[in-house]
Amino acid sequence: MKTKTVYKPTDGLVDRDLSYCPGCTHGIIHKLVGEVLSEKGLIDEAIGVASVGCSVMSYEFFNCDMQQAAHGRAPAVATGIKRVRPESAVFTYQGDGDLASIGMAEVVHAAHRGENMTVIFVNNAIYGMTGGQMAPTTLIDQKTTTSPTGRKKKGAGEPIRVSEMLATVPGATYLERVSVHDPKHMRKAKKAIEKAFDVQMNKQGFSMIEFISTCPINWGINPNDSLKWSVENMIPYFPLGVYKDSTKEDSNE
């Protein structure tokens, strides 16, 4: 009988178990990024920067050269890499605690300088690795281990919308927020990643794709309901869409 391959794992990822909790969407996002790097023929010239948090071990998963950065510093590390390796495809992979709290300065200034790199930003509204503390992206009234009665605007402020904020930075070239809660949105998310790396390889400057993600363990909701929760609660506050696209304008160079 003749067999036909209809699906195989991407060689953009190392063939091994991931360290993520069951039901977490990091696995899907890893796969999409790995597929894009592989399909665009970039995996052999890519340099990825792992951050601190759940994705700290991502240097074990992406099938390319990787460097592990201190908490929040991935865009600065990637700046150093890209400046000395301008032909490489350089990306960071960061969570919302890493990027939107401790590393806010680094991502804003990398965008501001128009660093020709791609940021993969995974927003699940909580600190996962450390056990479910409040993040800058935690929703109002959302319960975490450091907001046990729910996040209150007074004292903790309202959740930060990173894509909207970076859209005000002149140096940023391409910003899009996507979700991976169903196959339709996964396909859309993959297109966004493709666009981001195209922007970089065309030397058009800074690109960031923000993913609405889930954290079933620390949210205390099962994986399916977590996806539903993200659609019902996160997307209304963090609307999906393209927040900036200046690729049609003059190149940054």
Binding site: Y59, M66, Q67, V77, I81, E87
Partner: protein, 357 residues
């Protein structure tokens, strides 16, 4: 080659270019600003990388990224800025990445002041950042020595795969002296950087990962023991010092480095006019501390007078190196006050007077 008259900070900047620095990442802070200012023009003119980062923290992490990609990288700062960089320096050590760090020291603690100081001694020689880490560090006393060490440091960083810090104070950064920029330095055979994450995994046939994380405590211990072997090698090979006036078998020997050693030289001359012969042991490497110099002190030497522009941070190392063989005295000024040679002369005389009574 002909000597040129240069300001310390600019001479260090040019020395970095001559030493093969590929990239500079820094953030403004007094009293080192002429260094990045010089490089902002000259790095680009030499087809190399210059980035003014958004903070010291970002700058050292850019250094970490560029060094991980195989480049020869420099950052410069001053005491409070170096404190901010310590996390990144710890990552460089843990990931075994080469980098050169210039620290033009000023007074502290806190924002302190902008005048010359040596109060970073402990920050430099103990563990500035977290973990069992060491940074190869040098404290030159004049611009020629500074320039030579800056040039050599890029090779030493590559050789040991460890950051190297050059600690000068604001005095050396700001003063002008004639220097020969092309004085040859010792040649070191450098291994290929086959560990660097250059984005060439296919060509290389394997992925390179730059990482300081080892979750298994036994793996981390193994890693730290391997790092310790490198520190031991530095202790064996890189102890540097100068002995002054030891042929006079002096009873009192100054222990002083950097600008303090320059002032001590004046005190030695002033005392010699009164027929009091004092020697000087001048550490050039701070880590490794020059234990060998202490082992070679004349047997007539009874007192070591530690001189510092701080409240006495090196004195611990002097005590360890002397190992109870000498009477240890201290004189220092702090907060950016640069002592006069007369103050040191006065201190020597009071030690001699006390010894007689």
């Amino acid at each position: 080659m002909a000597k040129v008259l240069m300001k310390g900070n600019e001479a260090m900047a040019l020395a970095a270019i001559k030493g093969g620095c590929d990239a500079f990442f820094g953030y403004p802070i007094t009293p080192q600003n002429e260094l990045p200012e010089y490089l902002s023009y000259h790095m680009e003119a030499n087809n190399r990388i210059f980035v003014q980062a958004e903070s010291e923290v970002a700058a050292i992490n850019m250094v970490y990224g560029a060094a991980g990609s195989g480049a020869r990288v420099l950052t410069s700062s001053s005491s409070p800025g170096i404190a901010l960089k310590q996390e990144g320096i710890s990552y460089l050590v843990g990931s075994e990445l080469p980098a050169v760090i210039i620290n033009v020291m000023r007074g502290g603690p806190g924002l302190g002041g902008i005048q010359p100081s040596q109060a970073d001694y402990n920050q430099i020689t103990r563990t500035g950042g977290n973990g069992d880490m060491k940074v190869l560090s040098f404290a030159p006393e004049n611009l020629q020595e500074t320039v030579d060490i800056v040039k050599e440091s890029f090779d030493l960083a590559d050789y040991y795969r460890n950051p190297v810090m050059i600690a000068v104070d604001g005095l050396i950064g700001q003063m002008m002296e004639p220097v020969d920029m092309d004085k040859p330095i010792r040649k070191i055979n450098l291994p290929k950087k086959d560990w660097a994450a250059t984005g060439e995994s296919k060509k290389r046939g394997k992925r390179n990962k730059i990482v300081s994380l080892h979750l298994d405590p036994y793996k981390l211990e193994e890693h730290n023991l391997a790092l310790q072997k490198k520190y031991d090698k530095m202790i064996e090979n890189e102890q540097r010092y100068e002995m002054v006036n030891m042929d006079k078998n002096p009873e009192i020997v100054f222990v002083a480095y950097g600008s303090m050693a320059r002032i001590a030289r004046s005190a030695i001359e002033m005392l010699a006019e009164e027929n009091i012969h004092v020697g000087m042991l001048r550490p050039i490497s701070l880590f490794p501390y020059p234990q060998k110099a202490f082992d070679n002190l004349p047997k007539e030497t009874k007192t070591l007078l530690t001189l510092e522009m701080s409240l006495g941070q090196m004195i611990q190392d002097v005590k360890i190196a002397s190992n109870g063989k000498h009477n240890i005295e201290f004189y220092g000024r702090t907060g950016g006050v640069v002592p006069e040679a007369e103050e040191i002369v006065h201190k020597v005389k009071s030690i001699l007077k006390e010894a007689k009574s």
